[in-house]
């Protein structure tokens, strides 16, 4: 290469002279000479080095030949590309990445959680039981995730949630394509729906111990679905993504139904980008449509008697979400700030049958209810973050048709404020303290203290934005 270079520069000298301006010629020639000299010097240096190495090799000729080669490889350091590392030659070599999240919780509530409800928002008893806080020590949700590429076309993964009561549920079990072109990704199986911002994240990356009230009231905490999801990322420098889902919709706000076709569908759009080096943002709009059949909940009528309501009809949930992140120069390691908020609005209409002492009374049902949360998380030093969340639900309008005079329609607005402080000694561990004043239930203020740990073992999970 060097020889070729010298020849090339010679030719260029010959060609270059007539081309260049007369005034610049001598300087240019001088520079070329200098470069040739430098080339010569480096050549000589290399030859010397080679001679030296030859001498060394001769001196060490008594050593085994392989040994000498090894030593030379080490001596020449970065001078040669390394041999490709041999892949591990054992039966486990293709095992998927395994990641385990361990979490434990201590909760202190000023009120007995037994009567806990979100006044004006009707959740099926099973969903309510899941959201019911537990006092004292408990094992919060542990997660076991197993992920890997399937082949050249697919990626797949499974995520188990292990609950404190020794039950296990499958949070996610999906396959997704990696080889579709044009920004398309197709996912199948069970997965967290792409609606909203928090919904798609695993609970252990949330910034507070619990889900926002609006997520509890409208999604039962978090919505996963069995079905298909197609996402399309637009070929623009500004992030723009569209997504559509069809699925079983067995979970609240839908109900399990044995029928052909889809029981829950979702549409979502995301837009995002950067503002300078220090800011990034994402905003989204989503619509979740379900068709619950006999969704039941317990209520009290105006006479104070317990009734069971059963709703069948259409449920549309709109979510607008936005997140803004700031870090000086984009370096979030020392300090950063995140502002995040979501607004959820649900419109339901259909029929409602209320059951009082075994007597079923049919009527119509139409309700428009909403809720929002806004939270800010500030990392003020490495490892330390503080956060504030405020949230409110609006019971909106509920119309029971002919039963308006019988069933209660409270105008109460549930409110909650939370304050958290967490310590993150590494990207794999977190210890969190959270205080909250929870006024979800009318006439009952619950002051809460949580102390929680969340630890991540095994494969290094990459997190979504």
């Amino acid at each position: 290469m060097y020889k070729r270079k010298i020849i090339a520069s010679g030719i260029i000298m010959m060609l270059g002279a007539p081309l260049s301006a007369v005034a610049g010629e001598s300087a240019e020639m001088q520079q070329i000479r200098q470069e040739i000299n430098a080339l010569k010097q480096s050549y000589e240096a290399r030859i010397q080095a080679l001679e030296l190495r030859l001498q060394k090799t001769e001196a060490a000729s008594s050593a085994a030949e392989s040994h000498a080669a090894q030593a030379e490889a080490a001596a020449s350091q970065a001078a040669a590309a390394p041999p490709a590392p041999a892949p591990a030659d054992n039966i486990n070599a293709f095992n998927p990445g395994v990641s385990l999240i361990l979490s434990g919780l201590y909760s202190n509530h000023s009120r007995d959680p037994a009567g806990h409800a979100i006044t004006g928002f009707h959740l099926p008893p099973a969903v309510m039981a899941d959201l019911q806080p537990q006092r004292g020590f408990s094992l919060a949700e542990s997660e076991l995730g197993i992920y890997a590429s399937v082949d050249q076309l697919f990626y797949g993964g499974l995520n188990f949630a292990i609950h404190p009561d020794n039950t296990v549920s499958t949070e996610e079990a999906f396959i997704q394509t990696t080889a579709l072109n044009h920004g398309l990704t197709l996912k199948a199986g069970r997965f967290f729906s792409g609606i909203g911002y928090l919904n798609e994240q695993h609970a252990h990356v949330w910034d507070f111990v619990d889900a926002p009230l609006a997520y509890q009231a409208f999604l039962g905490g978090q919505m996963n679905n069995d079905g298909l999801q197609l996402r399309w990322l637009a070929p623009t420098d500004t992030y723009f993504e569209l997504g559509a889902e069809v699925g079983r919709g067995a979970n609240y706000p839908g109900t399990g139904r044995d029928k052909n076709g889809s029981g829950a569908s979702a549409l979502f759009a995301h837009l995002g980008g950067d503002v300078g080096d220090s800011n990034s943002w994402r905003a989204g709009l989503s619509l979740l449509t379900t068709a619950p059949q006999d969704r039941q909940w317990d209520d009290t009528n105006l006479g104070g008697a317990g009734v069971t309501n059963s709703f069948s009809g259409n449920s549309k949930l709109w979510i607008a979400d936005a997140v803004w992140k700031w870090a000086p120069n984009g370096n979030a390691y020392y300090t950063n700030f995140k502002l995040q908020g979501e607004y959820l609005r649900r419109v339901e209409d259909g029929s409602l049958v209320y059951d009082l002492n075994g007597v079923a009374v049919p009527g119509s049902y139409a309700a428009t209810q909403s809720g929002w949360y806004l939270q800010g998380i500030y990392q003020f030093a490495p490892y330390w973050r503080a956060g504030l969340r405020t949230e409110r639900l609006d019971p909106g309008s509920v119309d029971y048709g002919v039963n308006d005079g019988v069933l209660s329609r409270p105008a109460y607005r549930p409110v909650r404020h939370s304050l958290m402080l967490d310590y993150n000694p590494s990207e794999f561990s977190r210890i969190r303290l959270q205080f909250a004043q929870d006024k979800a239930t009318q006439g009952a203020t619950d002051n809460q203290i949580f102390l929680q740990y969340q630890m991540s073992l095994g494969a290094h999970g990459a997190h979504k934005y």
């Binding site: 260029i12 240096a45 997704q176 980008g273 990034s280 984009g330 990459a462």
Partner: protein, 301 residues
């Protein structure tokens, strides 16, 4: 000379090659690889850097702008060795772009082309932020840049075969200039051989290996763990017994721990650009090492 050879090469290519297609979109995970891709690709490539010199490439997020860039990228040029493990997998999974998936010509890992240092013999997160493949900060040794350039030139030609000759010609030109520059840096930095240094983060093994610097202490008690006051006092005591010349840190590191120690140990704290853009002087790969060597020499005086 280079101006001419480049000009001639470009003229020949222009005359011979078919009309140039749209430029190759390259998403570089770190600015040094962005700069290298630019050197080898010239105006046949569009380079976007996912990170800048003031960001720790281990700790950024798969933010929307990066997803959009990954979607449109024809090629990813990254360090590898798990440096980008906290965010690159998300880009790969969500980009819907088969061109940049591992194993494709559009997926390039620089660490595959160099001899890795500090490959751990045991893997335990109790040892801090260790990388199973070895220390990923390979760009601080210019000989590594040369090795990566060889690999990248080949892969650029695979990803964009119609311009293969162009990449090869630019690689030849770059490689010649680089070799000269390395020789010059090595000559200039001869006084640095054997100089004892302290590093804030274990980010410089390749630089130390190249220049013969001798690392005597680290401010981080474990890789990726912030220096604690207790540990700093220990290092200070150690430096009183075993003096060092300077404390090195990367542009993106917090300056306070090394300034604190430098003041008490009466040695200099040096912020190295670490990558292109890490200082006002470090505008490209050449000036990156010019500046690095100058800063080291100034501190060693």
């Amino acid at each position: 000379m280079n101006r001419y050879s480049r000009f001639i090469a470009a003229a020949i290519l222009l005359a011979v090659a078919a009309p140039a297609s749209a430029a190759l979109n390259i998403l570089a995970c770190e600015p040094e690889w962005g700069a290298l891709a630019q050197e080898l690709g010239g105006d046949k490539v569009n380079v976007y850097n996912a990170t800048n010199a003031f960001q720790d490439p281990h700790h950024i997020q798969a933010k929307p702008s990066l997803l959009a860039r990954a979607r449109n990228a024809d090629m990813l040029v990254c360090t590898g060795s798990q440096l980008e493990i906290g965010w690159l997998p998300v880009l790969l999974q969500q980009s819907g772009n088969p061109k940049i998936q591992p194993g494709k010509p559009g997926y390039f890992e620089a660490a595959r082309f160099v001899r890795m240092l500090e490959v751990p013999t045991r893997l335990d997160r109790a040892d801090g932020d260790v990388h199973p493949g070895g220390n990923p900060h390979i760009q601080t040794d210019p000989r590594n840049i040369a090795l990566v350039a060889t690999g990248l030139a080949k892969q650029l030609a695979e990803a964009d075969p119609s311009n293969a000759a162009w990449y090869q010609a630019r690689y030849q030109a770059f490689s010649g200039r680089w070799q000269l520059a390395v020789t010059r840096w090595e000559k200039e930095s001869a006084p640095l051989k054997g100089v004892p240094i302290v590093v804030q983060h274990k980010g410089f093994p390749y630089l130390e290996n190249w220049l013969g610097l001798r690392e005597v202490a680290t401010l981080e008690p474990k890789p990726g763990v912030e220096p604690s006051s207790g540990h700093l006092v220990q290092v200070l005591e150690q430096l009183q017994r075993q003096p060092a010349k300077m404390i090195l840190r990367a542009a993106y590191n917090d300056g306070r721990p090394s300034e604190w120690l430098a003041e008490r140990a009466k040695i200099s704290a040096v912020a190295l650009p670490f990558t292109v853009g890490g200082s006002e002087q470090a505008k490209d790969l050449f000036s990156l090492f010019d500046d690095t060597v100058q800063r080291l020499l100034a501190a060693a005086k």
